[in-house]
Amino acid sequence: MDDIPITLLRAMYVTMLRIRRFEEHVARLVERGEIKTPCHLYIGQEAVAAGICAALRVDDQIFGTHRSHGHYLAKGGDMQAMMAEIYGKRTGCSRGRGGSMHLIAPEVGLLGTVPIVSGTIPLAVGAALAAMLQGCDRVTVAFFGDGAMEEGTAHESLNLAAHRRLPVVFVCENNLYSSHLSLFERRARDNIVDAAAAHGLVGIRVDGNDAEAVHAAASQAVARARSGGGATFLECRTYRWRGHVGPSWDLDVGVKRKDELREWLSRDPIARLRQSLVSAGVPTEVLDRLDDDVQAEVARAEAYAKQSPYPAADELTMHVFYSEDASR
């Protein structure tokens, strides 16, 4: 893994910081009551989005879930547009029709994130089929959680992708919880990755808090997909620090996970990558300055969102159907 160039490590570090600081601020805004749309925070899982997306080209495509602020930023989505969306503004990336759970940035290959669990998995397979039919070497990534593997749609999708050797990478972010239920409250064994082989796919388990490891696994999977070798299933083991939804630390709703959380806090993916960078000789002041920049960017995004107008009442019925004029 030491062959990952330092610029890439740095880029991943910035991505992870941008996600962390953005969400920490969103958490405050939710607490202050400024933001109402349900926000499912990604804090703690940043290495997955950053590691995977660092292995992708701009024209590669990804799909996300209800918990996709991180995927949006990692793929290159505009922070201001996301903040405006979360505020319900007309300048939002979904023009105030989506909120936190429906993000899009087609210009950088984020084709959409939606909160129906498993909903985007077949969409990613379809985008991969499109690439194949179009004769492109584009790769598509589906991000989803451990809970999504309980939906039949996920299994149907794996089978379809395997059968047709489609250029898709399934990224299962196993954060050990599906809302208030831990893994063993939902399945007999901790063996999600075995679903891959059962459907005839390569399946790999990776430490989802290690950006470098995620990036390495993703690079292989993407290369396989791009070269016609078919789909890969990556189980990235990680943990969300906050509650299922909202800013709390999820020691509520009967979930007894205080000890667990303590342990996972000590495996902070950002601290870990920072350590790598420092070991590689990057001065800590440089890293601190990056953080300052990111915080300034978040502040600008907030200001932008706040000053943006809301959609007008008479726009309610616009966009039910597509029209080219309205799409611009």
Binding site: K36, H102, E150, L316, T317
Partner: protein, 341 residues
């Protein structure tokens, strides 16, 4: 009967608890049933009271979970299957329609599927298109399903009890927007018959036929209109299928003016059916076209600015009542009252 004030959510919980106490065949399965985030207080501590073997929080597997409920019903149980949002139940429509609804008929009436499916309408709050859908009209359309939609704490309890006692698949659709409504509810077990509407306000001038959440809005509209000298009769349908035609038609024959108010989409919604039936059976009595108040044919937006104009309520009902009354004035010959005997 001894009564005390309960919220709508507490009334649901009480119905479940009392039925589980009384009948060992009753159990609960569904997503989020251990979590207030999904079901509010409508199932609070039921798992502690009856054990997690009997109050089962399920994986994210809507179709199989629903099928498990149906299979258990076929094997002698009385399951209540919870879907914390109608939107998620879209994944379970196969089991609900292909299996539960058809089962009794397909096998010549020899067996029944005594199951309650409880999808919760949980909208607003900037949640958007995939977390706000209300599709009760779909289930009205399907033979073999009964559909109830309580609008009050009293009915929330009584209709849930009736649904569990029923030998057929019943869709019990509750609305999170009603959970904090409070009213006197009897302590005892009682049931509200499925298929009977309730007159929530007697009136002479116009009939408002309202569904679920819109009953509350209609009552508000009725208050307001009374200050304008308009005396509205409000029918709470309570049960969409079977629909209590008799109560609705009696009111329409009296007032000659009707507004149907639904919390679902307009086109092919429940209000369309009610409107069509009124036209079929009380055509002579109508002095103005039946008006519909319903959601516009638009997915739910998120931005508060759009949510504010998307949802319908008392204002829309009041305006529609004024409209149908106005139309009367311009067509003096319409309606039985004007037809010479």
């Amino acid at each position: 009967m001894n009564t005390r004030p309960l919220t709508y959510a507490q009334a649901i919980r009480e119905a479940l608890a009392q039925m589980m106490e009384r009948d060992p065949r009753v159990f609960v399965i569904g997503q989020g049933v251990w979590s207030p985030w999904y079901v509010g207080t409508s199932m609070q501590d039921l798992d502690r009271q009856f054990g997690r073997e009997r109050v089962i929080d399920s994986p994210v597997s809507e179709n199989a979970t629903t099928g498990v409920g149906i299979g258990a019903a076929l094997a002698g149980m009385r399951p209540v299957v919870i879907h914390p949002r109608v939107d998620f139940m879209l994944l379970a429509v196969d089991q609900l329609v292909n299996e539960a609804a058809n089962w009794c008929y397909m096998f010549g009436g020899q067996v029944s599927v005594p199951i309650v499916i409880r999808p919760i309408i949980n909208r607003g709050g900037e949640q958007g298109a995939q977390h706000s859908q209300a599709l009760h009209a779909w289930f009205m359309h399907v033979p073999g399903l009964k559909v109830v939609m309580p609008a009050t704490p009293y009915d929330a309890k009584g209709l849930l009890v009736a649904s569990i006692l029923d030998d057929n698949p019943v869709l019990y659709v509750d609305d999170r927007w009603l959970y904090m409504e409070t009213a006197d509810v009897p302590e005892e077990l009682y049931s509200v018959p499925i298929g009977q509407a309730a007159v929530r306000r007697a009136g002479r001038d116009a009939t408002v036929v309202a569904i679920s959440y819109m009953v509350k809005a209609a009552v508000e509209a009725g208050e307001r209109l009374s200050h304008e000298g308009v005396d509205v009769e409000i029918i709470d349908v309570r049960s969409l299928k079977p629909l209590d035609d008799a109560t609705i038609l009696a009111s329409v024959r009296k007032t000659g003016h009707v507004v149907v108010a639904d919390s679902g989409w307009r086109t092919c919604g429940a209000a369309a059916e009610i409107s069509a039936r009124i036209s079929e059976h009380a055509f002579d009595a109508l002095r103005a076209p039946v008006a519909r108040v319903a959601l516009p044919d638009v997915p739910a937006p998120t931005s508060r600015a759009l949510e504010g104009v998307y949802y319908v309520g008392a204002d829309h009902i009041a305006a529609a009542v004024r409209r149908v009354l106005h139309e009367r004035a311009t067509h003096p010959l319409r309606g039985r009252a004007s037809v010479p005997p």
